[in-house]
């Protein structure tokens, strides 16, 4: 299924902290990131991808477009999704993550706005966030990549259509096309996995020094 990137505006993160921010020690463990979609009609959300940076748990709230003039409310669509199995250690800390429609707790059609709530309970990290946030909606259905039936089964059981004068035999044409297709597949596949074996350039391997770039 193809997907289409939805242009979004990611607001700067807001830290949630109890007490006076200036005097209290310790770092905030909860951050909120608002994502708006200016100039985009309410859409159906397909996928969210991002690169994690030391966030341990992620919750997402969504605001839907409502008909008429009823005020839209925030609904939780993802609750405490674990990104780091051990918040004190590096596992999962810098991974690329995808979240899909079917993982959400509510219907994701007609999305107006998203709110990401990031949590990192461990005091060991200096900062945490999510990066390279991208939101996708469902794209148009892509043309089928499988081999069309009429090409792969040249011999059919039904009565062949009356042949027009001057045109080549359709079953021969289709089997030739099939062979060519198989050859191109083979070449495409073998191109990347065969070994090269030679380490010199045209028989020459005179080297002076190593390069730093």
């Amino acid at each position: 299924m193809s997907r289409v990137l939805v242009p979004c505006h990611v607001k700067s993160t807001v830290a949630l902290q109890v007490g006076d921010m200036r005097t209290s020690q310790g770092r905030p463990g909860v951050l909120v990131v608002d994502v708006t979609f200016p100039n985009v009609a309410p859409f159906e959300l397909q996928e969210i991808t991002f690169k994690n940076y030391y966030t341990a748990f992620l919750s997402i709230r969504v605001r839907h477009h409502t008909p008429l003039h009823t005020p839209s409310k925030w609904v939780t669509c993802l609750r405490d999704h674990c990104l780091m199995p051990d918040p004190h250690s590096e596992e999962g800390a810098q991974e690329y993550v995808s979240l899909f429609k079917h993982q959400m707790l509510c219907d994701m059609s007609r999305v107006l706005e998203l709110r990401l709530i990031l949590r990192q309970p461990s005091p060991l990290w200096l900062s945490f966030t999510v990066e390279e946030l991208q939101i996708y909606q469902q794209g148009p259905k892509s043309p089928s990549l499988t081999f069309p039936k009429w090409l792969s089964h040249p011999v059919s059981n039904e009565q062949p259509a009356p042949r027009l004068e001057g045109l080549p035999d359709p079953s021969r044409v289709s089997s030739e096309v099939q062979q060519m297709w198989a050859l191109t597949e083979m070449i495409r596949a073998s191109h990347t996995s065969t070994r090269i074996g030679r380490f010199d350039v045209d028989g020459c391997y005179d080297l002076n020094l190593l390069s730093y770039t």
Binding site: H88, Q103, N208, L209
Partner: protein
């Protein structure tokens, strides 16, 4: 679920892509063509009949082994947005540290070349080629003058780099906190504790028979050894890699070890065309020349370059003389991209006891290197990487032998300074050979190097009484200088399953 299905098809597609370019694919194709002559192959059910033929003739098993090998070696396909360097190493600061370390090695190599006025590589003049051909059989005895060459680096230089590894996003302040690590490694990687290790290494438990323990002279062979050997022979007849890997967790009988390792590492029995640039003659390997010739071939084997896809290290680059900066004249140096360090040949030496045909010895070593040994000298966050092994060792010691750890720290003998050299060489050269091979059996069986860190901690536990009495680093080194009398399996078993904590 949708996501799991698409993950699975991605993995399948990746493995098919890999295997399509392999020798096995060509062989399977030839077999399929050849079997068309057979009477049991009918045109109406061609696909099914060929599949049946493959199953009966053992080719399906070979394919299964190849797939299993791919699953073991290559990491799972990563997220589509992840760049290739993320597959090599996901943590950015570790990639940077590996990059700086490599640059240091390159500078050191370059300055050595400049000081001694020798180029990195040049074609041998004709006279020298002839000389080399004549002396191929005695290469170990007539080396060029290497006295002016220093080793590129030694393990202790590498240890200093690991000690200085820091995560810039980590609280590295001086104030002690609940997570202050008292050892040398200061990065918070996830390592297993003893309950998790017990689960992972369950076949090493007290109630399971082991070679290295239950085959000692006092134990009647009918209790375990005979049956274990019989099962081993059956596994070899079946030629099943996965079964062999499971079997070898309890150790391999000496007579079966060479074949079992070859089966697990999926080394074909056909001699591969090992490209020797020095000579194409049939040669006779004398034991002490094995090392020299294997490493010579290894350094020129460009197929090793493919492992850099999942190794955090990158192969050094150079340019043909006079063509600096022109990409069509860029080459890797050495051709296999691996710069060896002092003691590198110790990875090969134990294998010489198992394999006498040169091509098999070479293939086993190459496979062991691209599966395991490369992790011991590159900076990465992988659970079998040297950084994780060091942290695992220190954490085990600090948690389960706190008095010993504290004492050694107080006298200036950080335990890692002593055990690092054992782990970096996978204990080769420190243990008796039969014990080393029993240890490497388990590395293959569990497809992980964590057992090295556990053994290092077990050795400290074993000599704890003596170590508590020393008062200096030198004295601690002396207590742990000789490991040649140690029996590996009892130490591991006691440390994991029989220590009261």
């Amino acid at each position: 679920m949708l996501q799991e299905e698409s993950d699975l098809s991605l993995i399948i597609a990746q493995i098919v892509q890999k295997l399509k370019g392999s020798n096995l694919y060509a062989q399977l194709e030839r077999q399929a063509w050849a079997c068309l002559q057979r009477p049991e192959i009918r045109l109406e059910s061609l696909k099914e009949d060929i599949k049946e033929f493959f199953k009966a003739s053992g080719w399906e098993k070979k394919l299964q082994n190849a797939v299993y090998s791919e699953l073991n070696v290559y990491p799972l396909p990563s997220h589509p947005s992840a760049p290739p360097e993320h597959l090599k190493e996901p943590l950015v600061y570790m990639r940077k540290a590996q990059g700086s370390w490599e640059k240091r090695i390159l500078k050191s190599l370059n300055s050595m070349c400049t000081e001694l006025s020798i180029p990195l590589a040049r074609k041998r003049p004709v006279g020298e080629q002839k000389e080399l051909l004549n002396k191929w059989n005695e290469m170990g005895t007539d080396e060029p003058d290497l006295s002016l060459f220093r080793p590129v680096y030694a393990p202790k230089d590498f240890l200093e780099v690991l000690i200085n590894l820091r995560n810039p996003n980590y609280e590295n302040g001086d104030s002690l906190s609940f997570r202050t690590h008292l050892g040398l490694i200061q990065v918070p990687l996830k390592v297993k504790d003893i309950p998790e290790l017990k689960e992972c290494f369950v076949e090493l438990g007290l109630n399971t028979g082991q070679l290295g323990i239950d085959d000692s002279t006092q134990v009647p062979p009918e209790l375990f050894e005979n049956e274990h050997v019989r099962i081993g022979q059956k596994v070899l007849v079946q030629q099943d890699s996965a079964a062999a890997q499971q079997y070898i967790r309890q150790g391999s009988p000496t007579a079966l070890r060479a074949e079992l390792w070859a089966l697990i590492l999926n080394i074909s029995s056909q001699p591969e065309d090992v490209k020797l640039t020095a000579s194409n003659d049939d040669y006779y390997f004398v034991f002490e020349d094995y090392l020299y010739q294997v490493l010579l071939c290894f350094s020129r084997d460009t197929s090793v370059l493919s492992h850099f896809a999942y190794n955090s290290a990158s192969p050094p680059k150079s340019y043909i003389r006079g063509k600096l900066g022109l990409e069509e004249y860029a080459v890797f140096y050495p051709p296999n991209g691996v710069i060896p360090f002092h003691g590198f040949s110790m990875y090969v030496a134990p294998l010489c006891f198992l394999y006498h045909e040169p091509y098999k010895l070479y293939q086993i070593f190459r496979e062991m290197y691209v599966r395991f040994f490369f992790r011991l000298h590159s900076i990465s966050s992988h659970p079998s990487g040297i950084v994780s092994l060091c942290l695992l060792f220190e954490t085990l010691l600090q948690t389960y032998l706190p008095q010993l750890f504290y004492h050694l720290r107080e006298i200036g003998a950080q335990p890692l300074r002593i055990s690092f050299k054992w782990m970096v060489r996978a204990f080769s050269g420190y243990l008796a050979t039969d014990q080393l091979l029993l240890l490497w059996d388990r590395i293959l069986g569990y497809n992980s190097l964590e057992i090295l860190a556990v053994l290092a901690a077990a050795v400290f536990a074993f000599r704890a009484v003596n170590l508590m009495e020393v008062t200096s680093l030198a004295a601690a080194e002396a207590v742990l200088a000789d490991l040649s009398t140690l029996k590996v399996m009892p130490l591991l078993q006691i440390f994991l399953f029989a220590t009261v904590t």
